[in-house]
């Protein structure tokens, strides 16, 4: 578990949480993206982060993944892999090679890596587009390739930045079901940024709501269903309740401006 420390150094974190942010502040020049944010995620817990545009959600994920350092506070996390908000497929690789990239980086041989990626792309509804060049894919297809790539990295922590943002309702529901299935089979620690409160309530064990910039934690809502129970439906009362409370928290945080 790597520790990244901002200005005020603090004592070591407990080890049961796989991701832990304590009093983290992150500035870009005059812009304060995050202020005094503390979040921790236990092993195999799925935590959704929702918040207004520009509230520092992507910044938070990059902090967790060690791609940025906090200006104050501390961040401690096991190896986390980021699915960036912009898919960042590499144009010199086809869909399959893009998805298989982390396997190759881990030293895998190309045929074996492509085989595993092939299966995953199929599950994500991309069968037939394995050999498409990146610019021949639609927006939603690109995003799904990026999701496959992230999963194949095999890191203990997944930091997903709007993984299904470009998907239509049906494809999205499928993808959510698929992700829930994957996490039920092989649990992982997940930080999920989403602009869809329902998605948050459906997939997460806890929903963290951020305030508008500078992002602070407004509330941290447990969904209250047993950990590991991932087969939920949007109509589950717990899901509906959390969804409503999160929406309310968001509205409240946005204040009179909304």
């Amino acid at each position: 578990m790597a520790t990244r420390v901002g200005a005020p150094a603090q004592e070591p974190v407990e080890t049961e949480s796989e991701v832990r942010l304590e009093g983290v502040t992150r500035r870009f020049g005059d812009v304060v993206a995050l202020r005094d944010v503390s979040v921790s995620v236990a092993r195999d817990e799925v935590v959704a982060v929702v918040g207004p545009s520009g509230s520092g959600k992507s910044t938070l994920l990059e902090l967790v993944c060690g791609l940025q350092a906090p200006d104050a506070g501390r961040v401690a996390a096991s190896r986390a892999v980021l699915m960036p908000q912009r898919d960042l497929l590499l144009p010199w690789l086809d869909a399959l090679d893009n998805a298989a990239l982390p396997l190759r980086l881990a030293g895998g041989r190309r045929p074996a890596a492509r085989e595993r990626a092939h299966a995953l792309l199929g599950e994500l509804g991309l069968g037939g587009f394995e050999h498409a060049r990146t610019w021949e894919l639609s927006g939603g297809m690109r995003q799904r390739v990026a999701v496959a790539r992230t999963l194949l990295a095999g890191a203990p922590v997944l930091a997903l930045d709007e993984p299904f943002g470009a998907l239509d309702a049906i494809t999205r529901a499928d993808a959510q079901d698929w992700l829930a299935g994957v996490l039920a089979r092989e649990p992982r620690t997940v930080l999920l940024v989403t602009h869809d409160v329902e998605e948050a309530a459906l997939l997460a064990d806890r929903v963290v709501v951020l305030s508008p910039r500078p992002g602070r934690v407004v509330c941290d809502l447990p969904v209250g269903l047993p950990r590991g129970d991932r087969a939920r439906s949007p109509s589950d009362p717990a899901v509906v309740a959390v969804r409503a409370r999160a929406m309310e928290a968001l509205r409240g945080a946005m204040g009179p401006a909304a």
Partner: protein
């Protein structure tokens, strides 16, 4: 079509200019005279082309290898870059005549000093464009590689190298086009054969048409090498050359 027309027009104008005696034939021969020389001296030109061609190909290979290795090294280490890059730029300002005796002293009079000169002239454009290509990689792609746990070498292999490839090929095209003339300079540093030697010999002999015929052969060599590389470019970096306009 337009290409052929333009060339014809150019040749026609040149012929007229030369024939009208605006300038002495010893200074500017007419294209027909040059063509005649091309035909008459075809054996001589061919033999010397083989010599110079060999120098160009081997020298370029040396330049490419050295240029790319250097560019990568300078890219990977900012300190090395700050230390070595100015020196590299400086090398481009060294006229061959100054170091020719040194080259002869070190490498003798055979093929080697020619290769060194060709490589010295050609490696620079490759270093500059490759280095600039490597430096202009999208920072977001670097982040991606870091989050996927790629090592420095892997980030280079999967992101930097392909991203810099088109720029590096730009440099290689410049190198390949000036490779012929570099070999000519190299032959000026002493040789009995080659197109450069032929050119130098034709000056005191006032063989101007032959000199221009030699230049035509040199130009053909340059265009040939350039075209070959442009072709390679489309195969090596298809993503940088996708169709721009789906609607005609």
């Amino acid at each position: 079509m337009l290409s052929a027309l333009l060339v014809l027009l150019l040749l026609g104008g040149w012929e007229a200019y030369a024939r009208l005696g605006s300038v002495d034939a010893f200074i500017l021969p007419a294209p027909t005279q040059v063509a005649q020389a091309l035909w008459d001296d075809r054996g001589l030109l061919w033999d010397n082309l083989l010599v110079t061609g060999q120098e160009v190909v081997l020298g370029l290979a040396l330049a490419l290898a050295a240029g790319i290795v250097l560019a990568v090294a300078l890219h990977l280490s900012g300190r090395l870059r700050r230390a070595v890059y100015p020196l590299l730029v400086g090398t481009q300002a060294i006229p061959i005549v100054t170091i020719a005796p040194l080259l002869a002293a070190w490498f003798g009079y055979g093929l080697l000093p020619k290769l060194v000169v060709v490589a010295l002239v050609c490696f620079f454009p490759i270093v500059v464009t490759t280095l600039d290509g490597l430096a202009s990689v999208d920072p977001e792609q670097h982040k991606l590689m870091r989050t996927l746990g790629a090592s420095r070498v892997q980030a280079f292999r999967w992101v930097e190298a392909p991203a810099a490839l088109p720029a590096a090929l730009s440099g290689a095209k410049i190198a390949v086009a000036v490779g012929g003339i570099a070999a000519v300079f190299a032959e000026y540093t002493g040789s009995e054969r080659g197109l450069g030697h032929l050119l130098l010999q034709s000056i005191p002999q006032l063989e101007t048409p032959r000199a221009w015929a030699t230049v035509v052969v040199l130009a053909a060599l340059a265009v040939f090498c350039f075209a070959l590389l442009a072709l390679a470019e489309r195969r090596l970096a298809p993503w940088a050359h996708r169709r721009k306009d789906p609607v005609t």
